[in-house]
Amino acid sequence: MTTALFECRNLTKFFPIRSLLRETGRVHAVEDVNLIIPEGGTVGLVGESGCGKTTLARTILLLIDPTSGQVIFRGEDMASRSKRDLRQFRRETAIVFQDPYSSLDPRMLIADVVGEPLVIHKVAFGEDRDNLVLSLLKRVGLEADHMYRYPHEFSGGQRQRLAIARALAADPKFILLDEATSALDVSVQAKILNMLNGLKADLRLTYMFISHDLSVVRHLSDHIGVMYLGRMVEYGTREQVFDTPTHPYTRGLLAAAPSLDPNDRDRPREVVLQGEVPSAVEPPSGCRFHPRCPGRKPECDRVRPELIDIGDGHLVACLPE
């Protein structure tokens, strides 16, 4: 049995909308999410733009203060801690962003970009720092002479390697990969995904992987959460979610992703989702998916479905027949 590295309980984040000084509304970004990230695992989060996957991940890392709920890291509630008490937590967690063109400071030398966490966390200075940076660069497949260059001299794939080297610098246990390969070409993406899998095994890392690309999430994750408008609608192992998708949204999402088999084009799709994701400011009542759901029942607009275990930890939030 693996232990939980992270656990969130009833995590909620609303962003207030202010006009003048009055609060006129709230964006329901994340609502009442329970999630366990097992140590050494990779949890994938999928969902469309605005479903709250990035907000959830950033709230877990306490980069955003939750509106309510708990973030438990190694058995301790972190959300109530002061900023200063979080230093060790910051060292053990890291993040790799989507766009390596805006996540690296164009005025800093690579040695400083990658070495910054070492200095901030007082791990190493001067020559020691340079030696550590060198070994980090080698680890992500870059060369020693890359140390004294600037970010603009690197290609997209190399920049993402640099961002990963920086994330690894302070020897973290957990890395959040927020659309980390979405900006890359297929052949470059393949290299980065292989490298991430290798690093995870070598350094015993735990990943949370966010992507809108279902095939990438499937490739990397062992557990997958599907989000829709701020709520978790389905959660389970990779096989549970991809082989026996149960929530109508998950089924529609999987059916909508184009397949690599040209013969599939003539087959009728099981579920075709119409319409668009509604606004998170005034989300639909009851089940948030009910306006687009092909199998909606009369009570779906009134009753909010809870996540229910349908067997072996496969959780689905949909009202039973």
């Binding site: 393949a190 809108h212 490739h219 909508a256 397949s259 040209p262």
Partner: protein, 329 residues
Amino acid sequence: MEARENLLVVDRLKTQFFTYGGVVEALDEVSFEIERGEIFGLVGESGCGKSVTATSILGLVAKPGKIVSGRVLLDGENLVGKSEQEMNRVRGSRIAMIFQDPTSSLNPLFRIGYQVAEPYIYHQRRAKRQALKDATGILAKTGLPDAVEKSRNYPHELSGGMRQRAMIAMSLTCEPDLLIADEPTTNLDVTIGRQILDLVKDLQREFGASVLWITHDMAVVAQMCDRVGVMYAGTIVEKTDVRTLFRNAKHPYTERLLRAIPSAVKSADKLEEIPGSVPQLIHPPTGCRFHPRCDHVMEICSRVKPLEQEVEPGHTVACHLFGREREGT
């Protein structure tokens, strides 16, 4: 003679950009043809020349770029070398384009309805009132909900998917013979992207237009295109019908590219990697542009540019591996 006639023939098109850093050889003798009523896909990674091909066809190559040689034949008529005035009569009426990013290709200062009506006013000289009415009709055809009301909205008031529907409506106003779609679903969410794919396919059947579909996504190719050209560093390395491409890809680049995709159907432990990276096009590799990264590289590959060889009917590959086999038989 083929049974279906070619609408568009691109013949040894060579486009270069004359920059201070040197000459960027963006397209190196690209040739393909699109039959009437077919969807032809151009697929490849960033910088392989997909979009330059589109702008070259439309005569929109920006300075310091220039079409150096080659022909673009639309119904037998060469578009290369036509004056701006002549091209204006082609663009929007006979060839229309859907861009990747509808946010930056719609004018934020004009209402959706007017922007869609513009081709009616300019190309077909309809009265403004009639044009606006027709624009609403075609917007409704693209599945835009409440088209009458939405046509009075400005682009920022619509979602990404709705804007892309408006772009598609605009491109179809003059019932073009050829529609060029440059990654129209890349910025959209999975379910919205799928709606757009289905929409373009339905409308293409209804209007009978040919489509040049540009994408980097092999899955989109599998679901949309009839025939495909695979591009690498400014050249077309393989050209075939879509089913053959996924069943029997021949060019070493295509083969490896297909194995680098984390498939949504089965999950392998390790993805195929292509060693090295895409070359600079200022000083592209000599001979075959893929040779520095190729497993099967031979002595001839760095010297001689491989010509397209027909390996089976309708399936051409630009690779010396197949040229040699041919000599042997």
